[in-house]
């Protein structure tokens, strides 16, 4: 069970919003890089987010670059899961590969600051602030197994190969 506050974002939050290219010189210094997470979408995010909180976004979250640094700095900020109406393909895979759950659901009725409770096994999101309950779409089996191992690298460390 995951519990935290919702940080609400709109549609089409790109990887450039999440971690701009101008900080590429910090990519080998992840703690410094992480200080700029989502800076171009909400400059106050990094100072407000706490361990366990959620990013709640509209459609096509994470579009753009293949930089795995984008979900990485989100994870480093303490975010426990991303909830979005839809998510860009490369970002989706990258987040799961880092062990960061991405849950596809109707996020329209979740407000910024709402207290949420996510049950990954049951596939449900409870908005404790407004009392609504949502279900999210199933993650494909192969990705679920990677997520269960905490990400692709630990999955490969353990299994040495893919299994579908």
């Amino acid at each position: 069970m995951l519990r935290g506050r919702a940080f609400k974002f709109g549609d089409s939050i790109s990887t450039d919003h999440i971690i701009p290219g101008r900080y590429a010189h910090l990519r080998s210094n992840l703690p410094e890089l992480a200080k700029h997470v989502l800076e171009d979408a909400d400059p106050s995010f990094v100072s407000k987010v706490k361990k366990g909180d959620f990013i709640v976004a509209g459609s096509n979250f994470g579009l753009g670059s293949s930089r795995e640094h984008a979900p990485l700095v989100i994870k480093m900020a303490g975010v426990s899961a991303i909830l979005a109406r839809s998510v860009a393909r490369i970002f989706f895979r990258n987040a799961i590969n880092l062990g960061l759950p991405v849950l596809i659901c109707d996020t329209d009725h979740i407000d910024d600051g709402d207290e949420l409770e996510v049950d990954l096994a049951e596939g449900t999101v409870k908005d404790l602030t407004n009392g609504r309950e949502l279900t999210f779409g199933r993650i494909p089996e192969v990705m679920l197994r990677i997520l269960d191992e905490g990400g692709l690298i630990s999955y490969i460390q353990k299994h040495g190969d893919f299994k579908l």
């Binding site: 701009p20 590429a24 080998s28 753009g64 293949s66 860009a88 460390q157």
Partner: protein
């Protein structure tokens, strides 16, 4: 039941019948990293316990995004990449060689190949019929070590292109028009497969421009058939043996078909800060532009520089507008020198950058000031893309870029042709 190009290539790559929606493990024929995503990829590779590259001669390390390096931290990343290439036997593509996607197109990808790169514009090689797609560092690290990866076989959207391009209109206008029509998530998880009489008539350069930007509509891959034009291109690149004809089956099943008659297109521009925020160049007349950038994996090829030089010959850039040019590769640079295009462009006032990514991603070589606007031939215009969230990026063709450099405001190139 027939197969789409995506299904054909992934079937061959798995040895099984791969159909849209299937999950498959496929062979990877070419895998590459570049200098902004490569260091993390190497760290993930080293952490994974995979000791060796599956195929060092088909693993490439490109130094192109911050090349030459603007800071010591990036220089140290470059050292790390060079050391990895030396230790593993991977091919190293040094700074000045050009943008990874252009070099993959010129020298490495073959029709029917499965190509994975740690850069979203890996899709460019779809122009010659390769199933080429961008992935993150973990996926690419594992593909380097195992020589394979998993895919969900994408559904395909067929884009049937007919008609002749009017003067001043080209491949960039077509792909911007398509993205404007279907939106930045209009092809999420899908393959875009291009066909029709206008595709058959297109040069490889035009095909690469279109394939390059399919990811801007969310597509996993953008595929062109491999035909006589592809064969001639590969022969001219000294690798005719890499040619293999490739076309979808006549009875392949598509999720949908989109028809575009290019004769009806006009010079098109994507406005800030989204690639689907399109308008016609003539509708944006009067929009002042402080910097024009011609280059990148989208439009930094010889044909693009030829178009720009044709428009700028004997003309001068507007005094309030800087023109920056970065050829996509050393080959493009050499050919542009030989053809006289660079002389023409420099005489018009252009600044020539080394072959590479240039200012596209906001790292160096042309970062914008607060409130400034750039008209760029690149592929992305997200807020902050060119290094400053207070700046504005418009995307357009090399023809529109050249016309804009002369007038200092967004200009329909048909006015100067």
């Amino acid at each position: 039941m027939g197969k789409t190009l995506a299904e054909k290539i992934l079937s061959a790559g798995t040895g099984n019948d791969a159909r849209a929606g299937d999950m498959v493990i496929a062979r990877v024929d070419l895998v590459f990293i570049q200098d902004t995503t490569g260091p993390l990829t190497i760290k993930q590779f080293q952490a994974s316990g995979l000791k060796r590259l599956a195929n060092p001669q088909r693993t490439v390390v490109f130094i192109d995004h911050a090349a030459p390096s603007p800071t010591s931290t990036l220089s140290n990343d470059h050292l790390f990449l060079r050391q990895f290439a030396q230790e593993t036997g991977a091919i190293l593509s040094e700074l000045g060689s050009g943008v990874c996607h252009q070099l993959v197109a010129e020298s490495l990808a073959r029709p029917g190949d499965i190509v994975v790169g740690s850069d979203s514009h890996t899709v460019t090689a779809g122009g010659l019929g390769a199933f080429a797609t961008g992935m993150g560092s973990s996926d690419v690290a594992v593909a380097m070590g195992l020589g394979k990866t998993w895919f969900r076989v994408p559904e395909s959207i067929r884009v049937v292109v007919s008609g002749d391009f009017p003067k001043g209109v080209g491949a960039k206008d077509l792909i911007l028009h398509l993205i404007g029509r279907i939106g930045v998530d209009g092809a999420t998880y899908k393959a875009l497969e291009f066909s029709g009489a206008a595709v058959a008539a297109m040069s490889m350069s035009q095909r690469f421009t279109i394939a390059n930007m399919v990811v801007e509509a969310g597509a996993k891959v953008g595929l062109f058939p491999a035909d006589e034009t592809t064969r001639k291109y590969l022969v001219a690149q000294g690798r005719g043996d890499d040619y293999e004809p490739l076309s979808p089956d006549g009875d392949a099943v598509y999720e949908q078909t989109i028809e575009i008659n290019v004769a009806e297109l006009e010079p098109t521009v994507a406005r800030p800060h989204r690639m689907d925020n399109t308008a016609l160049a003539r509708e944006l007349k009067g929009t002042k532009i402080q910097q024009v950038f011609i280059g990148t994996c989208t439009n930094g090829r010889l044909e693009d520089l030829a178009v720009a030089a044709g428009i700028l010959k004997g003309k001068k850039c507007h005094p309030a507008t800087r023109l920056i040019i970065a050829p996509a590769s050393r080959q493009v640079l050499l050919e542009a020198i030989k053809a006289g295009y660079l002389q023409t462009l420099v005489e018009a006032g252009a600044t020539i950058l080394p072959a590479g990514c240039g200012p596209c991603l906001g790292l160096h070589q042309g970062v914008l000031g607060d409130g400034e606007a750039c008209l760029s031939t690149a592929n992305r215009n997200f807020k902050g893309r060119m290094g400053n969230p207070e700046a504005f990026v418009y995307l357009a063709s090399p023809a529109t870029a050249a016309a804009t450099a002369i007038s200092g405001e967004i200009t329909d190139p048909r006015e100067v042709l």
